[in-house]
């Protein structure tokens, strides 16, 4: 019960902090829009309205992923800079309960990216979207946010020991964009890439969002997406203990 409360309160405070950093916010929203714009131009030249709708959802989820991947990798590094990492570790809570709300906050901001990209496509490129199953669409977005938070959490803990964590976070932006079916259908990619794509929740989240919007059956995709997300959380919790102990041995929790 108190753990749930902790998750809720810290998610809200994290969200508050992100929204209060206008520059980070602007950067996070604008940066993926550049890629979205480029994609819109490319697909528009292809001259099929169907692909432009396809691209619009893809670009929107690209934006969602950006807000998690670039920030989650550096979440710990930021706490280190602020000098708060040690304070968090000296609290009696399991560290994963502290970190999970952080990445959940970042993933929530992704909804903003999603909306911004869809509106961008609507008003600048005239991509008209109709959502076939609004309720399932909302559910698909929720599932995607949760799984992104889970994947971000796994990144964040795995990077605790790397000072170059922020780069590693950025580093996962492109590959996921490339292989999770956002703009490039999986069938275009070499066969050996497919298993990697299937193991990544964004692939299923993307598919769920498209299916629900275009009138398919998104439930299996939502299930796979949330299931994988939970799997990342479980692995992340296990990694947390090892990583923190290692950091206490090496003395790498503080900057100085």
């Amino acid at each position: 019960m108190s753990s749930l409360r902790l998750l809720g309160v810290s998610w809200w405070l994290q969200f508050k902090m992100i929204m209060r950093s206008p520059f980070d916010g602007i950067g996070n929203v604008i940066y993926p829009l550049f890629f979205a714009t480029t994609a819109f131009f490319v697909f528009r030249a292809g001259d099929s309205p169907r692909t432009l709708i396809y691209a619009s959802f893809g670009a929107a989820v690209m934006g969602m992923w950006s807000s998690v991947s670039t920030s989650a990798g550096s979440a710990m590094q930021r706490e280190r800079w602020w000098g708060t990492l040690e304070l968090l570790v000296t609290t009696p809570r399991h560290f994963s309960l502290i970190l999970l709300p952080t990445t959940l906050g970042l993933a929530t901001v992704g909804i903003y990216n999603l909306a911004a990209t869809l509106l961008w496509g609507r008003f600048l490129f005239g991509v008209h979207l109709t959502i076939a199953h609004p309720l399932l669409f909302a559910l698909a977005i929720l599932g995607t946010v949760l799984s992104f938070a889970g994947l971000g959490f796994l990144f964040a803990v795995s990077f605790v020991r790397f000072r170059a964590a922020w780069v590693l976070g950025n580093f996962f932006e492109y590959p996921v964009w490339l292989i999770c079916g956002f703009l490039v259908p999986l069938s275009f990619l070499p066969g050996w890439v497919h298993p990697i794509s299937w193991a990544l929740a964004p692939t299923w989240g993307m598919s769920a969002i498209r299916e629900s919007a275009l009138g398919g059956s998104p439930l299996p995709d939502i299930g796979a997406c949330v299931g994988l997300g939970l799997g990342y959380v479980v692995v992340g919790v296990l990694v947390t203990d090892r990583v923190l102990r290692a950091a206490r041995v090496s003395g790498s929790l503080s900057l100085t």
Binding site: F23, D24, I26, G27, I30, Y31, L33, F34, F35, T37, T38, A39, F41, V42, F43, R44, A45, G46, T51, F162, R163, A164, V167, L168, N170, F171, Y174, P175, W177, L178, L183, V184, P185, F188, L189
Partner: protein, 262 residues
Amino acid sequence: MIVAARIFFVGGLTSFRALFYWLTPWIYIPTMLIAPIFQILLFAYIGRSAHLRSDEFYVIGNALQYSSIPCLFAMAQSIGGERFQDTLSAILVSPAARIPLFFGRSLPVVLNGALVSAFSLAVGSLILGVHLPASSFAPLALVVLIAAFSCTGLGLINAALSLRIRENAVLSNVIFGFLLIFTGANVPLDDLPSWMSTAAQGLPFTHAIAAARKLANGAGLGDVGGLVGAELLVGAIYGVAGFLLLRWFETISRRHASLERS
């Protein structure tokens, strides 16, 4: 003259090294060598799925355009970064001549940017099976160098702005984004609205990318002389403007004591 040359080379190199002490292979390899390859792959596959243009188009466009990451960030770091290390004022009160000082700092940035582009061009071509004629290697290397020079000119303006704006990384990213859309790296200028393709004429990379594509298709260096000249001119204009902006900010900063952060 010799003193100026020393400030140019030694000062430039030292500052580059000092500011990038954190730039270990752990950071350099992912950001400078692997990320551009993924950018190339992303757009090449987007192009394939939209049934457009050849892989070569995207390999050349993105390999050149990606050098804006090292050029913009490194330039801002090597000037704006010092503000946070409190050494800028120490340098500015020194009587060292400004021109070799600021331009000296840009030399390693240009070389590094060209290296990043050349590497991604070579590796991207290999992965996607793009064949570049051997005769184009030398002229392509020259164009890559000029593109990096031209973007570093813009980087100098970015560096000057970094003296006034705290969140320089965001600004660098935004400039990178504009270059991604406008320069023809991924979208042919003809497919852009006319105001965008007009604006592109004044941006780094636009002419270099066009020249590089021609070279890859067998044109000689003589055939692209005009484009190369235009790219050089664009870079030179940005470089001079950036330098003037830096001088101007230096003066205001001295008046308002806003050089240091605290």
